[in-house]
């Protein structure tokens, strides 16, 4: 966020300076630049960009994992995992409460904020039971460089008993995570991944391809060949988001569904404009989103234009679930399990006891369908719109007020 703002200021300043100093030109304002660019550029561009993120082997694995059986109690999904290689942690067994250092990418979207609240409640529970003495957190505010220096600070001065890292981006953070591993302390990575398996445990839900398969198959099943889907994407370059679209785009293509994708930055003004323009050029039968932030704006754009509401996939954010119920649209809410924010601390509890943990801790990730929707809405009554239905903190001490009042530590 911060970096983006600064770039823009530079652009504004530079352009304005240029503008102020410009003196002569023969151009007329009546021929706007680049108006004659080739049409159909949008159709051609995404194909190459998603190929870059498509990995058949990972796709197949995640496709299988969608129907895999998970070890553990389904009432505690944050502790469930798919059977696989385990890390022996006997060397990490420790006496007494330990200090944990958490390098967080950011809390700049409702999903991360919900998870962050849940994590802090889990922390309180573990502090009460004497497992953890304190958790020192550094928020990188979506900046790779900040997070790298945060991790290096923890290594040199943090006096940490263990590290939790939620990486901001995959490639850039890999060396810093490796340095943390070299300290010989347990390292738990969750959410986005890094390109090393040195971590004691890497915790994540099934993944982006599974999301893409769930959503695109749902839309393809509801729509006819030749129907149009508008894909609203948050931003480019983040693996978990890119994989969602890489899978979905492929499936749309196989089913003969015309899909156009846009980057919106989750800005509702932008989303409304995109949908309004799409509806002005022709009918839109479906909306696909790579994250639910802004889903309500998308539905409102159809309402404002007086068009038939689309078949849609959003996310388990309550604003979407509520709008879905209110409008009665045909929809699916894929879930990027928010309860994963509890798991790193619980993994450390096991590690400090010397119990083995999955090397790759794959958590369940199952979408909310129309049948389950009522149940989740009821369970989360009184929660704000930015809350996530599958946050998984119902048994923690602060429930429900801490989440209702969005007490962000």
């Amino acid at each position: 966020m911060h970096r983006k703002v600064r770039t823009r200021i530079t652009v504004v300043a530079a352009t304005s300076l240029l503008a102020l100093t410009a003196c002569t030109t023969d151009s007329s304002i009546e021929d706007p630049p680049s108006a004659e660019a080739a049409p159909a550029a949008t159709e051609a561009a995404p194909a190459e960009s998603s190929d870059e993120w498509f990995d058949q082997a990972v796709y197949d694995t995640q496709d299988e994992q969608r129907s895999a059986t998970f070890e553990g109690d389904p009432a505690q999904p944050y502790l469930q995992y798919i059977d696989g290689a385990m890390t022996d942690t006997a060397a990490f067994a420790a006496e007494g409460p330990q200090k944990v250092c958490f390098a967080n990418a950011s809390i700049s979207n409702p999903w991360r904020q919900t998870g962050w609240i849940t994590m802090n409640e889990q922390l309180k529970a573990l502090q009460d039971s004497g497992v953890i003495s304190e958790m020192e957190t550094r928020d990188a505010q979506d900046d790779d460089n900040t997070q790298i220096s945060d991790i290096d600070y923890f290594i040199s001065e943090g006096n940490c008993g263990a590290f939790i890292i939620s990486p901001n981006s995959t490639a850039a953070l890999t060396p810093a995570v490796e340095r943390a591993c070299e300290t010989g302390k347990p390292v738990v990575v969750f959410d986005r991944g890094v390109e090393t398996d040195c971590a004691t445990s890497f915790i994540h839900p099934i993944g982006g391809f599974a999301w893409g398969i769930d959503t695109a198959e749902f839309l393809s099943g509801k729509l006819q060949e030749g129907d149009k889907v508008v894909a609203l994407r948050i931003l480019p370059g983040v693996d978990v988001l890119e994989q969602r679209w890489a899978a979905a785009e492929r499936i749309f293509e196989e089913n003969g569904i015309e899909a156009v994708d846009y980057f919106t930055g989750a800005d509702p003004t932008e989303i409304k404009k995109i949908i309004a323009d799409e509806l002005a050029t022709g009918d839109v039968q479906g909306v696909w989103m790579d994250a639910g932030d802004g889903a309500v704006a998308a539905i409102e754009a159809f309402e404002d234009a007086g068009a038939d509401l689309p078949v849609m996939t959003g996310e388990d954010e309550l604003s979407f679930l509520r709008k879905w119920e209110e409008t009665g649209i045909d929809a699916l809410a894929p879930v990027y399990s928010n309860f994963q924010w509890r798991t790193p601390l619980l993994a450390l509890e096991k590690i400090f006891k010397g119990e083995e943990v999955p090397a790759e801790w794959v958590l369940p990730q199952s979408p909310i369908t129309e049948e389950d929707r009522g149940e989740f809405l009821e369970a989360n009554e009184g929660m704000p719109d930015g809350h996530y239905a599958k946050f998984g903190g119902e048994d923690l001490p602060g429930y429900p007020t801490v989440w209702q009042e969005r007490q962000i530590p």
Binding site: M1, R8, I9, V11, V12, T15, S16, L18, A19, L20, A22, C23, T24, T25, S27, S28, I29, E30, P32, P33, S34, A35, A37, A38, P39, A41, T42, E43, S106, I107, S108, N109, P110, Q113, Q141, Y262, F263, G265, A266, D267, P268, T269, K272, K273, A276, D277, A280, T281, D293, G294, V296, E300, D304, A305, G306, S319, P384, D385, G386, R406
Partner: protein, 364 residues
């Protein structure tokens, strides 16, 4: 013959020409207006509209056209606000952040409680005026360049928003409040619905037009053209400019109120508004550095800009090109405007003045 006499003679003949111009027929005056940058933008607007409709005929239906105007209204309102500041010779870069801050204020303070709508609305207006007042006072009394002052305000407000929200969306305010930006008068013949933002825009444009014809408007242009001369002539320049900043922030506030209805609460709402507003104003032929330009041309600039983006979108040009286009527009428009106005400033009669007041054939 001394130089002074020559000048007097020259100015005498110029006066005659101007007099003749003012007495010329409506048609001629319109023609002359179109040739200024502030008039050409209306031609551009019509040309772009024709191009968009040619690219996509359904856009020309009254229903979709009126919705387009409704959704562009906040940008036009911001452009009108920015016009006051630019015409007075300053910049307001804090506009986008004011929009964002107001959107967040509305979302957080009103919530689902409809009874709070009116008090919070008043609070937002007071807050908007206050931001403008601070911008204006620091610029004029402390003599800090407005570019820097409003840059500071922009960052300060953004920081505040980030602190308050953590950068994530919060819940939308009550639906009744959102109707200001989303709703409209239903069952209007021909256009189905008359969006409220459109009505607000018309009201603000009319007020701005009226203001510019009042002594305030005259003093504003004088202060922008030559602040020293204006001060010597008895104009309280600091107060004139401060009021321009307040009008700008108030316009941003109104844009924010509309946007929270139209789009909803998100920290990215309002992002880049200052840049879009400045582009629109410049496209409307208003001179950066102040002193010249017509307020309604600024609004027309906003519509032209949005039409251009719509056209690019319909032609399949990727939206990533938008910033480039916007940057080029600023440079081209400023260059064209500078050329035209400079000719006047240097004293050489611009081409329009060469039109003879008497029947063609005789020379002036």
């Amino acid at each position: 013959m001394s130089a002074g006499q020559t000048n007097r003679a020259a100015s005498g003949s110029t006066r005659q020409v101007l007099l003749a111009q003012n007495r010329s027929s409506r048609g001629e005056r319109l023609l002359r207006f179109i040739r200024t940058p502030g008039g050409a933008v209306f031609v551009l607007l019509l040309a772009l509209l024709a191009a968009v409709i040619a690219a996509n005929p359904s856009f020309g239906e009254p229903g979709s056209l009126i919705r387009f105007i409704g959704r562009t209204a906040p940008i036009a309102i911001a452009a009108i606000g920015q016009y006051f500041v630019i015409a007075s010779g300053e910049f307001d870069l804090s506009m986008g952040s004011v929009v964002t801050a107001q959107v967040i204020i509305a979302g957080n303070l009103i919530g689902q409680d409809e009874s709070r709508a009116v008090p919070v609305l008043l609070l937002m207006l007071v807050f908007g005026a206050f931001v403008g007042f601070v911008n204006g006072c620091v610029t004029t009394l402390l003599k800090v360049p407005s570019f820097i002052v409003t840059l500071g305000t922009m960052l300060a407000l953004l920081g505040l928003v980030m602190y308050w929200t953590g950068g994530a969306a919060t819940g939308n305010p009550a639906d009744s409040f959102r109707q200001i930006g989303r709703g409209g008068i239903r069952d209007v013949p021909l256009v189905e619905v008359l969006p409220y933002p459109l009505l607000i825009l018309v009201g603000i444009a009319a007020t701005a037009f009226w203001l510019m014809r009042r002594p305030f408007g005259r003093a504003l242009l004088a202060a922008g053209d030559n602040p020293r001369a204006a001060a010597l002539a008895g104009t309280p320049v600091w107060w004139i400019k401060t009021r321009a900043f307040m009008l700008s922030s108030l316009a941003a506030t109104v844009a924010g109120i509309i946007l929270v209805g139209y789009a909803g609460v998100h920290p990215s709402v309002g992002r880049g508004y200052e840049f879009t507003a400045i582009t629109a104003v410049v496209l409307g032929g208003v001179v950066l550095g102040g002193g010249r330009g017509w307020v309604l041309s600024a609004a027309a600039g906003a519509f032209s800009l949005e039409l251009l983006f719509t056209l690019l979108n319909f032609l399949g040009v990727e939206s990533t090109w938008r910033d480039t286009v916007q940057g080029l527009i600023i440079i081209v428009a400023v260059a064209v405007a500078a050329q035209t106005w400079q000719r006047k400033r240097r004293g050489a009669p611009p081409p329009t003045l060469k039109i003879p007041p008497t029947p063609p054939g005789t020379t002036a």
